[in-house]
């Protein structure tokens, strides 16, 4: 351990920390703890090459809760010769100061400039983080466009769910990895050993799942390579989850230990991109889940463990897993992040007296017809039973989550949300005797690629605003409601199914001041309007894309048959339900085969 002089003249055993120019910045910004690292379970591999920097394009507190980054950080540091470090998007006060002082973005572990790493990997969660990617590249001093980058600049690699349509960011990345990367980390690290940037890119391009965007220069479009096949981590069920995650010292959004007990969901909700993207279902054995929980609790010091997946209640041995994990320690809280309404009453009973707090239930739509269209196969009685179970169970808060703007939705469907909220309020009064809080969260549906609704139109600004107002007017007094910002939904809809050339829109918006678009206090609709006008794009319409031609399929092969998605779209129109293939008939989505199959606990 090195020593550092303090102002007192005494020496501190904390390494050369911080560098003078960083110390000066940290003295002037809000929450400086975001930029300094030093967390529990942080890994340092000084001087090791290749050096990989992993980034989540949002502020530290949000990025630290991202599991993909934790998985990659552990895989690169613990199972490969490379070193992985982290960098998050600086908050605007810090970003402005860094620009004014000419201090480039640094990584938390070594405090070395990010631009000096060999590979800069971004996990891309959603469209409203795209301008932050440009912000981070710029702050790091890495040239925005791949074709402009020099030999010494890092390879910039994108991954994560938003890669389902990489076109809006394509020219800013050297490569994209499509799908689950765990099984390919060794190959990615090996590719970085090639002697030149071109050779490294060529080696990366040979790895299954890697898509190299067309390398057009200065307005001349280059030829696109073949679409990359989405990778499925076939050994998921035989691989231990992360048990030594980095634990932030600042309060982050989810302050709990996490065990991923299952990946994939075959419930088949037609609006859900994750449900299609992470197929098939793979469950880890209960013994592995319990051992992982024990180890992660010891490594993190948390008093709560979340058993996470897209739909944890569908895990085949959920009762056994919850009871065995809870038995690890007296008073340990075990949480499941998503409850299925059709069995919520049973699930809520599992939590017993020890756990109280608030619960979120997601009916998604308030009328039976609309729920059938989106393949959310629950009926009114099940919804009411679930709400009653929440209040009878002693929970002190209930949030009901809905979407508006779903395909086929009418104004009546939207106002029906008020009816369901009223019924829930009545139950809160009668069953919980007014001691429970009820809130309604309403987001705007944005059609996503590789889902049955990928070719459906976005509802549009006027419709969404009208339905929000109708719902506001119809809600009973005392029910708290929150709506997703329609302006942000317009941007999301413009980018989610954008085509080739849409990068210009993102860059113009960023140059006009857009960043942190997912944060209401920083979202600048005018920057997006200005950029859209310059690019001749209508916000809300997929940018530079013929949706019927599904341009995202030119870059990404999700492994899901287009015919399956089209058939599901047709069934939605007819209001027909499709059963979960785990317990019912195979829906012929095309994912299984070639060693990839559903794996459930016996």
């Amino acid at each position: 351990m090195q020593v550092q002089s303090t102002a007192s003249g005494r020496r501190c055993p904390s390494g050369e920390w911080p560098r003078d120019e960083l110390e000066d910045l940290l003295a002037r910004v809000t929450r400086p703890g975001r930029y300094v690292g030093g967390e529990f379970n942080l890994r340092r591999k000084p001087g090791v090459r290749p050096r990989v920097v992993l980034s989540y394009p949002d502020v530290y507190e949000i990025g630290m809760a991202n599991q993909a980054l934790q998985i990659l950080y552990a895989a690169v540091n613990d199972d490969s010769a490379a070193a992985a470090e982290r960098a998050y998007c600086p908050w605007p006060d810090m970003a402005d100061l860094m620009r004014a002082r000419g201090v480039p973005l640094w990584s938390l572990e070594s405090q070395e400039p990010v631009a000096t790493c060999d590979l800069w990997g971004f996990t891309l969660p959603h469209e409203l983080t795209y301008t932050n990617v440009l912000e981070m590249l710029d702050l790091a001093g890495v040239r925005l466009r791949s074709v402009e980058r020099g030999e010494d600049e890092p390879i910039v690699l994108g991954g994560g769910p938003a890669v389902a349509d990489p076109w809006p960011l394509a020219p800013f990345f050297d490569a994209f990895f499509v799908g689950e990367v765990e099984g390919r980390v060794a190959e990615l690290v090996a590719a970085l050993g090639a002697p030149s940037r071109a050779a490294r890119l060529e080696a990366l391009g040979r790895i299954p799942g890697v898509w190299i965007p067309p390398r057009g220069v200065a307005g001349v479009a280059g030829a696109a390579g073949p679409p990359a096949r989405r990778q499925v981590f076939a050994d998921f069920a035989r691989t231990m989850p992360v048990t030594r995650p980095v634990v932030p010292l600042l309060e982050a959004v989810h302050d709990r230990a996490v065990v991923e007990l299952m990946r994939g969901c075959t419930a088949g909700c037609r609006f859900c991109q994750a449900g299609m993207w992470y197929r098939p279902v793979r469950e880890r054995p209960v013994d592995m889940v319990v051992e992982a929980a024990e180890r992660v609790l010891a490594a993190t010091g948390c008093d709560e463990v979340a058993l996470v997946s897209l739909s944890s209640c569908d895990y085949s041995a959920i009762d056994e897993a919850v009871s065995r994990v809870r038995a690890l320690r007296p008073g340990l809280r075990v949480s499941l992040p998503s409850l299925r309404i059709d069995s919520a009453a049973v699930q809520l009973a599992r939590f017993g007296e020890a756990q109280r707090g608030s619960v979120t239930l997601a009916p998604e739509a308030a009328t039976q017809e609309l729920r059938d269209r989106i393949n959310k196969g629950v009926d009114e009685t099940q919804v009411v039973e679930a709400i009653e179970a929440v209040f009878r169970g002693g929970f002190t808060g209930l949030k009901l989550y809905f979407m508006i703007g779903l395909p086929g939705e009418t104004d009546d469907d939207a106002t029906a949300i008020a009816g369901m909220a009223g019924a829930a309020a009545e139950l809160a009064k009668r069953v919980a005797r007014g001691r429970a809080r009820l809130s309604i969260a309403v987001s705007s549906y944005v059609p996503k690629p590789h889902t049955p609704f990928e070719r459906e139109p976005f509802a549009g600004e006027a419709t969404l605003r009208r339905r929000q107002q109708l719902l506001r007017d119809a809600l009973p007094r005392g029910v708290k409601v929150s709506f997703h910002d329609v302006g942000a939904s317009l941007v999301e809809a413009t980018l989610a199914r954008a085509g080739r050339g849409s990068d210009e829109l993102v860059e113009r918006a960023w140059r006009a001041g857009a960043r942190f678009d997912g944060w209401s206090e920083h979202f600048r609709p005018q920057a997006w309007r200005t950029a859209a006008l310059a690019c001749d794009v209508t916000l809300g319409e997929p940018a530079m894309a013929d949706v019927a031609a599904a341009p995202w399929r030119d870059a990404v092969d999700p492994g899901i048959d287009a015919a399956f998605l089209a058939a599901e779209q047709a069934r939605a129109l007819d209001g027909l339900l499709t059963e979960d293939c785990r317990g019912g008939r195979c829906g012929s989505c095309g994912v299984c085969g070639d060693g990839i199959e559903t794996e459930v606990v016996a």
Partner: protein, 224 residues
């Protein structure tokens, strides 16, 4: 239940934690070390853990104090300290741990600080000399609770400025009374204004804190 006093430093990355985050990090250290903290009674039990004197964000500290109540099944302090040191994050080194026969209620009475201020060293030295000659220095404190005036001369003593390459290193002590105390930033604001420099503290370090009400056996170091 047993009462412990834990002395720790706060350096490097941990200097940038808030008071609550520092407390949370130390509590998590106990959990990682397998040393159970005692819980309060009531509907929402809280761990019995306190830091008697909050540190400003950005301040390093050489020897801070935490008052801890541990559960009956906690190990002996010596073995607990080994486990806690292994479980602590970098930047929060643990130096001593002492068990107390009674519930300690330490009250800070004097804290010594050092920091650097960028600017004209001579002007800062003159400002420090001016301050030392004053019997009363009234400043206004603005906080979410409102405005109040306080006499810095009453709370700040031994103020000295010494030239360093970037400007001046200030050293001073802050008295803590039942009616409150001065903040290091208020001292720097005042001096920087008089010296015509930017009122930004660099490398603020709390060198020591003296307490009233510490059990006698812990003052010489106690059990480790």
């Amino acid at each position: 239940m047993s009462h412990w006093l834990l002395w720790f430093g706060r350096w490097g990355p941990a200097s940038y934690l808030s008071h609550l985050d520092t407390a949370r990090a130390l509590q998590r250290t106990f959990a990682r070390a397998g040393v159970d903290l005692a819980l309060s009674q009531g509907f929402r039990p809280k761990v019995r853990f306190s830091l008697p004197l909050p540190l400003p964000v950005g301040a390093a500290a050489l020897e801070e104090l935490a008052v801890v109540e541990v559960a009956e099944r906690a190990p002996a302090p010596a073995s607990a300290l080994c486990a806690l040191r292994a479980a602590a994050p970098e930047g929060l080194p643990l130096s001593r741990l002492a068990a107390c026969a009674t519930h300690p209620r330490p009250r800070p009475v004097l804290a010594r600080y050092a920091c650097e201020v960028t600017g004209d060293a001579e002007a800062l030295e003159r400002a420090a000399e001016w301050f030392a000659a004053q019997r009363e220095v009234m400043v206004e404190r603005v906080s979410p609770k409102g405005r109040r005036t306080l006499d810095l001369a009453k709370y700040v003593k031994d103020l000295a400025a010494v030239a360093v390459p970037v400007g001046a290193r200030l050293e001073f002590a802050v008295r803590h009374g039942r009616d409150g105390a001065a903040r290091p930033q208020e001292v720097v604001d005042l001096l920087a204004r008089r010296a015509g420099c930017e009122p930004v503290m660099h490398r603020l370090t709390r060198i020591s804190v003296s307490y009233e009400g510490l059990p006698r056996d812990t003052e010489s170091g106690g059990e480790e």
